[in-house]
Symmetry: C2
Subunit: 271 residues, 2 copies
């Protein structure tokens, strides 16, 4: 038994879809969440900048005597995890590995689509992960730079002409190609599951990277006897790098429950 | 005569529409441009964060022995200029004052529309500027958080369903209200002049804050005998806080000419 919290960070709000899955799968765990809302989005920035930001995010979380870190941002995971993980004393889990494995298991025709930020697509990480597990699988990747700002503006509903037009533009080559599995390679995208599923059709399996990663974290903590006492009622504490006002407004949409407790603003550049 | 350069900064690319106007109106001036592409956008962040960023942007420019600074970002100008300008040894010009004055001159029916980032609208700066000049003028403001990411993704053309839908949503209350003047209160928005003019109709005057501010800077430097020699051929040097690769790609769209010379990346957090 290990009562220490799990640290989770993301470039902003997207990681809350992964936190929601952690809360569901590990209700006994305390979670410290950091959303880098002062520097969101990460997915359009250079690798060097993203790595610097990720190190600061990790340094901040390490203060809380955490037992593990989950990088709940596909961009940060893709660009920085491999480069930085060995430098820290706790296990650092990402979202891309779990999503890649789930896609390989789900696909029957070996055609796997990926939508993600430009930085994640450019990293090639999903092709690498999927290729290592199933060399015959093919991956078609589409960078979707507008989906994060659209989601952060609450444009997520079916029938919204703007999000439906943008989704159709990004997904048309994937639908035409005939993938049977589509990796939502950004933790913002589960909010768009309904319009994406409607466009792609019911035969295409959508992979939620946060959900898959939460399962992996749950299994690994259980294997290592690092879970909290089952009777403990887990709490989540939220930190952000910009005004908490802006955070709380949208966070409940991502979490699908109200944000409890005070959200604190920190100066991430000091870490 | 004063051979020192003019410093210009913005949260990212938008300020280049103001640089373009400076180049046209003051072809003899050297310009140092800093685009904070590692932390763009400013317009959705808190006042405290924006003020911290603006001080760092000014500290960076002051290294270049500049004779004046132009804040080519309505958000930074609205939120931070008054608070910080007195602390520095060079005159600091904004874009909001010039745009507010131009709107008052242009409006016949006293109904002035404003579109800007959420932070600029929340600051109330345009109501303050316009009210001081013309107390009977009315101002209706609409925050347009999606326009900056759409412009930065090149969605600027008439006939683009996404930009036209978003523009129609944001501008409908202003058109229904009957403003005869519309302040483009963000230096990204001149790129959208064509679809905005098409939606608002030919009777509505659009105010380009960068163009108005460039005129003010030109007049004030001339009055103070701070202009460079008229035979000097002005050069512009560009600095950014994220990868220059991403910057150059779009910068030529904003400048309406190719970016000449190397674009250099700097670590703005060190200032």
């Amino acid at each position: 038994m290990d009562t220490r919290p799990i640290g989770v960070f993301d470039s902003g709000l997207g990681g809350l879809t992964a936190v929601r899955q952690l809360m569901r799968q590990l209700p006994g765990e305390d979670i410290i969440y950091f959303g880098d809302t002062g520097r969101v989005p990460y997915g359009v920035r250079s690798a060097e900048t993203i790595q610097r930001y990720v190190r600061q995010d990790i340094h901040f979380l390490l203060q809380f005597h955490i037992k593990a870190i989950m990088i709940a941002c596909n961009t940060a995971d893709a660009i920085a995890r491999e480069a930085v993980a060995g430098d820290y004393p706790v296990p650092i889990y990402g979202v891309t590995g779990a999503a890649g494995r789930a896609a390989v298991h789900a696909s029957k025709n070996g055609k796997i689509g990926l939508i993600a930020t430009p930085a994640t697509v450019d990293s090639g990480i999903f092709k690498k992960i999927i290729g290592a597990l199933q060399p015959r699988a093919q991956v078609m990747s589409v960078a979707c730079p507008l989906l994060v700002p659209l989601v952060e503006n609450g444009r997520v509903a079916r029938g919204d002409m703007v999000i439906e037009t943008v989704i159709a533009e990004y997904l048309k080559p994937l639908r035409d190609w005939g993938c049977d599995t589509l990796v939502l390679g950004c933790t913002h995208y589960p909010l768009l599951s309904a319009p994406i599923a409607a466009y792609m059709g019911t035969d295409v399996t959508l992979i939620d990277s946060g959900r898959e990663a939460a399962q992996t974290v749950a299994a690994q903590l259980a294997d290592s006897a690092l879970l909290n006492a089952p009777e403990h009622l887990g709490k989540t504490k939220f930190y952000v790098s910009d005004s908490p006002a802006g955070f709380e407004k949208l966070a409940s949409l991502f979490l699908q429950r109200p944000v409890e407790g005070a959200v604190e603003q920190i100066n991430i550049e000091a870490y």
